[in-house]
Every structure is written in structure tokens, then in C-alpha cells.
Amino acid sequence: MTVNESTQSAAHAGAEQPSRFDPNALVQIRRVRKSFGAHQVLRDISLSVPAGSVTVLLGPSGSGKSTLLRCINHLETIDGGRIIVDGDLIGYRRVGNKNHEMTPRQIAKQRENIGMVFQKFNLFPHMTALENVMEAPVGVAKRSKAESKQRALDLLARVGLADFAGHYPAQLSGGQQQRVAIARALAMDPKLMLFDEPTSALDPELVGDVLDVMRELANEGMTMIVVTHEIGFARGVADQVVFMDDGLVVESGPPSEVLDNPQRQRTRNFLESVK
């Protein structure tokens, strides 16, 4: 994206949401709208995520937070607005005053910079942990096999799974699978990591290991957008908490404001219910 265009949108979005605008942010979401049939999932979402910061999306189920996350790497198309990651307009090319959807190959190129971790892990079941982590660096980024293997082993060691490189996903616990999934996403050296309810499918005693890995990642300066119900994680790690309901951002700000001193009744009700 040109600097010119992002400053234009700056003036526009800045007028209505002064606190959230940051023209230098790594992720800029501007007035994004999305419907599934007649149901409008995202009404008008604007959001900035500065590089190196952690943003936690909170909200009741059906509020659109997972959909928003999936729009950021174009797993879902959007009906209007724009999403810019590291200066690239995601999923679309600007032609006149319209955005035209890119070809699958162009979109794939953009996704290399954006790692994603899913609620159900989605590891490739026919590959070992090591092969899962190596597949994209070797097959997509065309790095050498030896280099990718060394890097994959380092990443597995980093998530505490050095001894499990040869295991198939079916031989790993949920928490271990999710940590392999994080290592797999990191192997492409993404600039941004998206976490879609990474601990919701885990047994309670396994949640801690995954959150520890995420916490460490945040401390190392990774830019992260996390959809989660773990309020403790949000309070301890997030720089920005965004509370969404019914396709709108209800409230956003540092955790000390949104979690400890919510201004809106809807936010208070939600925080009460997940306590």
C-alpha cells in the first residue's frame, strides 16, 4: 500500500475513532464489513495493532472475533473496508475505487507472513511433528532441507518438544499438538501471529503449557492477535484488549481499562459471566 493511501484512510478513521488510529501500526483494519447471507457478522470494525504488541479479542460467541481473525489472513473474504498488514492490502488489489480479489497464488504469498494457530490444532495427521514444521519452509519458502530441519528441531525444542520430533500427531496430547502447531506457524518466520482460541479444545491441565509458550513469544516481541477466553492471559500479556459484541467493537484499550474498569454495561456483563 502507498503511504498516501494509508494517510488518507487515517484522516477518515481518525475522525470517528481517535484513540485507535496509528498510521505506523503493523496491522490496520479499517471499517471492515462481512456478512454470511443475511447475517451481518462484522458491522464496521476498525482496529490498529502496532508491531511487537499483543492484542486480545474478547467477546461472547457469535460476536465476530474469530471471523475477524480469519479475515486478516483472508480465510474469509470481506464485503467492504480494508485490512493492511505490514503495508500490504490483504487479499485485494486496488483498482479505481474498488478492491478486486487476488488470485489464490497471490493470496498464498501474503499468508506466508501471517502465522495462524487454530482451536483444533489442524496438524497434518500423516506427517510427524518434525515433518509438520518442515513442510512449509521446504515446500513453500523453498529453503534447503538440512537448514529447515535444523530450524524445525530448534523450534520444537523451544516449545518444549525436542523429544517428540518423530511422533505423529495422534501420539501427542492436545497441549503437545498445539505447541507443535505454534512451532509450525513460526517456521515461516511470520511478522504476525493469529491465535484462534488456542486453548479452548484443551484439557484444563494442558492449557498452562500452551499459554507459557505464547507468553514467551510475546516477550520476544512477536506481534500477536489472540482470540481467547483466558482473562488472566489477557491481563498479564496483552497491550490492548478489544471487546467485541454483535459485530462491533464495544470497547478497547489497555487491560487495566477494559478489564478492570469497563465503561460499557455489555463489557461488564461479559466479564462477569466468564469470571
Partner: protein
């Protein structure tokens, strides 16, 4: 187990110290009765067949490796392999069309499967054999114009063998496409999303992520289809393709040893289908990796293990007086 049970006051039974009790399984005399009955029936059947004066076992041995039978076996294998390979490729295309979001492609694919699955294979075979009645010449040119690059008399190109190959291939493609489609649909949608999120293109995702997982579901029914195909080649006798069954018919029509030749043919079909189950077993193992926690050993590995266990183990280590603990 310790010999002494803890004396837990009120729970002290009089035989509580006798914990070495043998558990006797239920006796099942009817297993013996039913087994003997079945064995008796079986031996009665074998004796009846073996002592039948109308059966000429020498003829079975004589024709088992008759050159005509062997050439029939060769042609049967050729037809099976060609039809199966081509129909599988066609099936992938038909399944992809059916799964595509283009309504024309998906309807045409649906119609194809409907037509070829809904009519008897025998009828289709005869129909292809009569292709010459429908088109006297086959032309290569621009449709609906008189421009023609090449043309050939239908009965020259479509020999009984080609008609048979066409019939079996096109029919099989309809069935196989449904198997391929089921395999593709069995892969979780999250797999595609995970692959996409790593920057994989749709084709790369299909080749490296979706297809290997679909294969696990596709291979067992395709093994079935392969065995069916091998046996269905015998239907081509109606259009005089000189495969195994037709050859046997030709021989028996001259020497009138119909049953003997049917035994020869059956023996060959049984042998070929047995051979075909071996690659299926190994393919299933290959594509099943990651699905079971521990793959059982293959029969060869079992035999190897059994032979190894019979060999005497290595000599026990000699006694030593050194008592250094490693790592101290």
C-alpha cells in the same frame, strides 16, 4: 502380591489368606460339536466331488497351463490394468468436477455417474461393441462443419478389445469417482485452512495435504474395485474379446469339458485376486501412517521376528567384579 493380606477388621473373610486361586474358564462343549459337524459336511462334499466319475481331473491339470489359457490370462491382466489406471485418472477428474462450484461441471459429472451406474455393465459392453452401427466412420475435424483432418472406419478402430476397454473404463470411472469424492470429503476442512495459512497454494495443498489423507479412505474400496474389475473382464466374452473366460469357452466348446475348464478358470481368477490383495495391504499401511499409534508388524516382519526368536540369543555377559556406576 503379598502373602499377607492386611487385616482390615470387619472385612476379614475366613479364606482371606488363600489368595492363590485358579480361575477356571467356562467349558464350551458345543464348540466341539459344531466344529465336528461342519468338518463332516465339508469332507462329505470333498469326497463327493473327488469321486465323481464325470469329473476329469487330469483335464484340469492338462489345461491349467495350456498356451491358449495363458494368453487369456495375459489379456485379462492387460485389460484389468489398463481399465483400472485410465478409469482412476478419469475418476479424479469426474470427482473434481462434481466437487467444483461450477454448476455446469458438477451437473455434467452427476449425470455421468447417474447414467453409467444406472445401466447394467453387460448392456454397456454390448452397446460399445455395436458402436459401428451408430457411427459408420469416426472423424477428427471441427464439429458441425465438413472440415475433416482424419477419419477411420469405426469397425477398424473399435475392435472388440477397444470396445471392451472403453466399456469397462467408462463404467468403472463412474464408481471410482464416487470413491474419490468420498475420500476428498473425508478430509477435515481445517486441514485446508491450516495449509492455506502456511502460504500453500491450492494445488500444493491438494497434493501434499489433502490427497495423502484422502488416499487412506480411497484405497480399501479401490482394492475391492480392482478385484471386481479383474472378474468383470469375463463379461467381455459377450463381444468375443479373447480373455481368460472366452478362451476357456472356446476350448470347452470343442472338447465338451465345460466343468473342468470352469475349474481351470476359477483357479486362475482366485490366484490373480489373491496376488492383488498383497499390494493393497502395503498401500493401506503406507497411507495409514499417523492414524494408529503403533502399526502392527507386516507378515514378513512377523516371520522374521519368529525366526530370530528361535535363534539362541547372544552369550550372557561374563561375570565381572567391577562395580563402577556409570555417571558417578
Amino acid at each position: 502380591m503379598s502373602a499377607q493380606t492386611p487385616a482390615s477388621g470387619a472385612q476379614a473373610f475366613e479364606f482371606s489368606t488363600e489368595d492363590d486361586i485358579v480361575a477356571v474358564p467356562l467349558r464350551r462343549p458345543w464348540r466341539w460339536v459344531s466344529a465336528i459337524l461342519v468338518l463332516l459336511l465339508l469332507s462329505w462334499f470333498i469326497v463327493t466331488v473327488a469321486t465323481n466319475p464325470n469329473l476329469d481331473f487330469a483335464a484340469v491339470g492338462e489345461f491349467l497351463f495350456d498356451p491358449r489359457i495363458l494368453s487369456g490370462v495375459g489379456l485379462t491382466i492387460l485389460i484389468t490394468v489398463v481399465s483400472m489406471v485410465v478409469s482412476t485418472l478419469l475418476a479424479v477428474v469426474i470427482a473434481a468436477m462434481r466437487l467444483s462450484s461450477n454448476p455446469v461441471l458438477s451437473s455434467v459429472s452427476w449425470f455421468y455417474v447417474w447414467a453409467f451406474r444406472g445401466t447394467p455393465q453387460l448392456v454397456q459392453i454390448v452397446l460399445w461393441g455395436y458402436l459401428g452401427l451408430l457411427f459408420d466412420k469416426l472423424r477428427l475435424g471441427i464439429p458441425l462443419t465438413d472440415i475433416e483432418f482424419w477419419s477411420i472406419d469405426t469397425n477398424t478402430l473399435i475392435t472388440p478389445l477397444v470396445a471392451g476397454l472403453l466399456a469397462l473404463t467408462l463404467n468403472q470411472a463412474a464408481y471410482s469417482s464416487e470413491i474419490v469424492r468420498a475420500g476428498m470429503m473425508s478430509v477435515d476442512e481445517g486441514q485446508r485452512e491450516a495449509a492455506f495459512s502456511l502460504g500453500m497454494s491450492p494445488i500444493y495443498t491438494f497434493r501434499r495435504v489433502l490427497l495423502p489423507q484422502a488416499m487412506r479412505v480411497i484405497i480399501p474400496p479401490m482394492g475391492n474395485e480392482l478385484i471386481s474389475m479383474l472378474k468383470n473382464t469375463s463379461l467381455l466374452s459377450v463381444i468375443a474379446v479373447m480373455e481368460l473366460y472366452t478362451q476357456a469357452q472356446v476350448i470347452s466348446s470343442s472338447n465338451l469339458k465345460q466343468v473342468e475348464l470352469l475349474i481351470v478358470v476359477s483357479a486362475w481368477y482366485l490366484f490373480l485376486t489373491s496376488v492383488l490383495s498383497v499390494p493393497q495391504y502395503y498401500l493401506e499401511r503406507r497411507f495409514g501412517r499417523g492414524t494408529t499409534r503403533n502399526l502392527p508388524p507386516t507378515p514378513f516382519q512377523r516371520i522374521k521376528a519368529a525366526l530370530n526368536s528361535r535363534k539362541p540369543g547372544p552369550e550372557p555377559a561374563p561375570a565381572t567384579t567391577v562395580t563402577t556406576v556409570i555417571g558417578e
